[in-house]
Symmetry: none
Subunit: 191 residues, 4 copies
Amino acid sequence: MLRKKNGPPDARTRILDAAEELFADAGYDSTSTAGIAKQAKVPKGLVFHYFPQKIDMLTTLVDERTFVEILPEDAVEAVPGDPAGTLSRLAKRFPLRASPAMRRILFREADTHRSVRDRLSSLNSEVVRRSRKALELALPGERGDVARLEVAAATFATVLLYQENLHQLTGQHVDPDAVADLIGRALGVTS
Amino acid sequence: MLRKKNGPPDARTRILDAAEELFADAGYDSTSTAGIAKQAKVPKGLVFHYFPQKIDMLTTLVDERTFVEILPEDAVEAVPGDPAGTLSRLAKRFPLRASPAMRRILFREADTHRSVRDRLSSLNSEVVRRSRKALELALPGERGDVARLEVAAATFATVLLYQENLHQLTGQHVDPDAVADLIGRALGVTS
Amino acid sequence: MLRKKNGPPDARTRILDAAEELFADAGYDSTSTAGIAKQAKVPKGLVFHYFPQKIDMLTTLVDERTFVEILPEDAVEAVPGDPAGTLSRLAKRFPLRASPAMRRILFREADTHRSVRDRLSSLNSEVVRRSRKALELALPGERGDVARLEVAAATFATVLLYQENLHQLTGQHVDPDAVADLIGRALGVTS
Amino acid sequence: MLRKKNGPPDARTRILDAAEELFADAGYDSTSTAGIAKQAKVPKGLVFHYFPQKIDMLTTLVDERTFVEILPEDAVEAVPGDPAGTLSRLAKRFPLRASPAMRRILFREADTHRSVRDRLSSLNSEVVRRSRKALELALPGERGDVARLEVAAATFATVLLYQENLHQLTGQHVDPDAVADLIGRALGVTS
DNA sequence: TATGAATGAGGATTCATTCAT
DNA sequence: GATGAATGAATCCTCATTCAT
């Protein structure tokens, strides 16, 4: 996993790079191992030296290249009385560390590959949990409806998760800041 | 599309039924035409009689089995002063006529097949347009921020579109009614 | 299975012919499906049309081309008082209908393929059973040792089964007639 | 062959041990060098250090681990007048020194590897030769039929050689002592 | 002697598609 | 319309062997 600071990436890394790009472009099923080898500029056999089954490339990518960051709770920088700003800041600290290509892979392959689905699921849980926590901190004395807060968190998480996918598939943009503002208003505080 | 009232479905219909189920389960690429023929209980050659190329089954399914209903505008039953209820009612009249299997196919294959993506895109546009229209009717005198209304419509549309996908991939439920209520509050009207 | 009386053998038959010859020559593992296709003069894909897995060719060969003939008991033509002649005649009516190539395959692959082993086992049982029956009929009043008769039958069966294999592997010939004579003497009757 | 009295077997020995077991279980062709290396717990490269070609492992096994013992002629302990007992004793001194695994390899691979076949052939010759010699010594004054004695020797050798194989492939046991007794009777001496 | 990355030919199998009947 | 044999390119994967260190 460790790589020299400089110098060209080693064969295993090149294979994963190639797989990431090709899986994202054409989908896992439509990408051939021969194509990966060619793009990575390694002989076909070497692909199987590192990844005995094609599926191992996908699971390795998901394992090594998507990362749900676990931050300390107070990293959210919640500001009491400012749920909208708090959610905005959360969006910027979105805890999924993954390239756009990896995010495409994550959504596309989740449907048919359990390991990918599990990772996506854990990501979603984390985003919802953080949104809820942030809102709780931003609305302190609020005796308010717990269920409403839950819905707000879920709505925000959905928008965060799917905004990129939505843009890719339909061309439509949704601005998380604007949604944060909307939710802030719904929870009774004007930003 | 038309089928005799009684009697077993004809060969073409059985082929499409099989393709729908198998594409939804395993994805387009992983489904073989032989598998479709077997499931449809028709000889392999007949599949190619009706659908000269495999891709024709996918485009035909999307053409014939996903249907964005174009209703008269006033079908929305917008109630001035009740944006939450109006959105709720819109959700129930969700204009996508498609089986759960077709919806899976739509989302999964949109990524790699332009014709599917186009259909999904037009569906999304329609849902956003209707949400916006409904909110405009429900908030008549509102001089209010047009941009905010747009964001509300987009947020609601996103939730509507992805709720099923979200549930499948992450196990999380989002209740459109609760989101409608949230948005109603954000737009300044308490339900 | 039925073939026109004249005309060239059909594709399936040609494939089995080729498999039989190549399996016998080089062994199952060392024979490639491509080689079978070439020898049979059919395209590679057709081999898998008839035999979805390579192993199916072996099991089909064993099923269709080795045949333990079940004759009426009295077909043995046992002559009371002449065990040697009776065994000799049995050897000539040896109930395994299989080409020399199939016999090589049978012995070689039995070691690693259960279905082949089972067939060989059932063949052996039948040969032993017949030898015993023949000896019983040939030695009527014989109060004699049942165990000895059993050993005689087993010995004769072993020689019958392995004589060809023995010749192939070591170059040594054993004449079943001479062994029949030997056993006749052992059972107390001079031929 | 020589090994330190104590301590774990060295790499070369472990490789041969692994090859012996795997060749016996799955056959030479179905055993991969990588599998041998793994079972022997040595790196893949080391296998090729000791055995530049895969086939060298087979020939080395046959060379070093099957051994046709050449005993002094009088080791047979022939007892004049007791051919059955003499053969029985010969069976116990069966001159093939080889593990059951090696014996399986010997029979299975003889069909396709000349060096193995040659070893098996020389073993067979030796067994026949000894059987003949033993019978000659056990039947001294016998002017009797030389051909009959030859058949008796060949029959006994066949049983000795194939009894294990027969048991493995068909489940049937043949007792060499009983066969020795049978042959003794055939040669005119009652035991 | 020891090591495991590297190599590429070859193997079984899949599959969309064609076509004669 | 209906049928299933026929086709061959492409796919995933295996494997003996080499070689730099």
